[in-house]
């Protein structure tokens, strides 16, 4: 019984140095006393083994959380995979379920879920599942929410501590399409309208021998598709480490060697960091950063950027600079109402702008302006 409770305490103390305030310390102590007995925790060795396996698969150095790592106040990116959250099941009368869940959100819950399938069996009562951050005072939040809704007493509830492996595993399902893809936590199974629009564009443009740049590669689906259509070389950039490792993994699944598909991590904001030797401090990011290919401009016959509105506007000049003069640049990940802004911004860099749409999503293409007077 002492083992789970002490690792629980270690986690609270980690938060203590991070938050650094006397009042939160007392609320932690109070909560340690009122938590239900440890048999409800999922702190079992099998969860930890699954987590290690998951971490090695995602190519992240695992932090051993059975010791007491007191970081100096900073919570590093690795912790994102080991952070816990509280899952609370609350039982309440059916007619207040909706209002109670809204009110829980106001008082500090991170999310609330009402499962409709449960509700058909039971009569009067319905279960609300809610998630909270580990440093939230669950009892306080529930009592305030119940009060504001008009319930006379605090509803029954059960608290459990979960960690991320539970739901991460559930979202990784293998999609068997012509390109074998395991997107994991990166974007791009080929099903989203923007991906489809970009794939149609690729099919039209890539005939054999081209150099292709996928800015915002995610799972690597577009880069791999370009190679399958006959491109000579595909390069993928992304700001997320998981995306680079996922794309590398998918290339291997499709028997594409690393010399055909080059990948690199890039900084998320446009600025001087791009030209630095390496803006990242941690070794695992440095491995994924390839400053040589980031510096090669005017190289690609086709450039596609399937990201979001603001990054597209911010990075417009950079994205277009990678294309050869006269080459085609395609941008997507924008909804129809955002199209005019993007067209206006990109018209300073591209000629012959064309917009194609699917559902509510759009893809904008144009060819890079060839400046007169330059080579």
């Amino acid at each position: 019984m002492s083992l789970p409770l002490s690792s629980l305490c270690s986690h609270f103390f980690k938060h203590l140095t991070y938050c650094n305030s006397a009042t939160t310390f007392f609320s932690f102590l109070r909560r340690i006393h009122c938590l239900p007995p440890p048999n409800r925790f999922s702190f079992v060795p099998s969860a930890r083994a699954a987590r290690q396996q998951l971490l090695s698969r995602l190519n992240v150095t695992a932090v051993n959380c059975s010791t007491l790592p007191l970081h100096n106040g900073a919570v590093t990116a690795h912790d994102a995979f080991i952070l816990h959250y509280l899952s609370v099941r609350i039982c309440c009368p059916r007619h207040v379920a909706d209002v109670l869940s809204e009110s829980l959100l106001c008082f500090g819950a991170s999310s609330t879920t009402i499962d409709e399938l449960d509700s058909h069996e039971s009569g009067e009562e319905i279960w609300i599942s809610s998630t909270f951050d580990v440093d939230q005072d669950v009892k306080d939040c529930i009592s305030r929410a119940a009060d504001s809704v008009g319930l006379k007493e605090i509803p029954n509830y059960k608290v459990e501590m979960h960690d991320h492996t539970d739901w991460i595993k559930q979202t990784q399902n293998l999609q068997a399409i012509n390109i074998v893809l395991n997107p994991g936590l990166a974007f791009g199974t080929g099903e989203h309208p923007t991906t489809k629009l970009c794939l149609l564009l690729l099919r039209r443009l890539v005939n054999g021998g081209e150099y292709f740049l996928d800015y915002g590669t995610g799972s690597g689906v577009l880069a791999i598709a370009a190679l399958k259509f006959g491109a000579d070389l595909s390069v993928g950039f992304d700001i997320e480490r998981q995306a680079i490792t996922s794309a590398r993994h998918n290339a291997a699944l499709n028997n594409i060697g690393p010399e055909k598909l080059l990948l690199s991590l890039v900084p998320s904001k446009n600025g001087p960091e791009f030209e630095n030797e390496c803006p990242y401090e941690d070794i695992s990011s440095q491995d994924l950063y390839n400053s040589k290919i980031i510096a090669e401009k005017d190289k690609y016959d086709v450039v596609i950027a399937n990201i979001l509105l603001y990054p597209l506007l911010d990075l417009a000049e950079r994205i277009v600079s990678y294309a050869k003069p006269g080459a085609v640049v395609g941008v997507s990940g924008i909804i129809s109402e955002q199209v005019p802004t993007v067209v206006e911004h990109y018209s300073q860099f591209l000629d012959d702008i064309n917009v194609s749409t699917m559902d509510d999503w759009a893809c904008i293409t144009g060819s890079k302006k060839t400046e007169p007077g330059t080579t």
């Binding site: 959100l105 999310s111 951050d133 539970d166 991460i168 791009g188 989203h192 979001l308």
Partner: protein
Amino acid sequence: MATLKEILTRRPVAATIRLTVPAGGAKPAPPVGPALGQYRLNLMAFCKDFNARTQKYKPETPMAVTITAFTDNTFEFTVKSPSVTWYLKKAAGIESGSSRPGHVTASTITLKHVYEIAKIKQSDPYCQYMPLESISKSIIGTANSMGIKVQKELD
């Protein structure tokens, strides 16, 4: 009234999920991850869709989103604008409402602020048919319950 086509193709609902997510900041981490992962919904599709639709808001603004998960692992979601209390706190420049509303005033705002907030709220799906005046009255009511005074002009 739903159209005939909608009734015939109606999918059984598996769950209704409510979340607060910062605008443009949906990631496969809590709160999004555990809530959606449980119903095997395509996390990244939701994140991308949500981020694209909330690009017009200032980043990190907390948006209330309601997701309807269907039994065939598809989903639909609606995004609502941030809560009135959040707007009021930002307009008044305070972190939290007054501890004794009615007795202790936390801060003051002008009618102009109320009008601006009402305009934003009117674009919410459930407020569209309300006259601006009614929305403003309800905002003033919320402000009173938080201990924020509403003045005609700032002196």
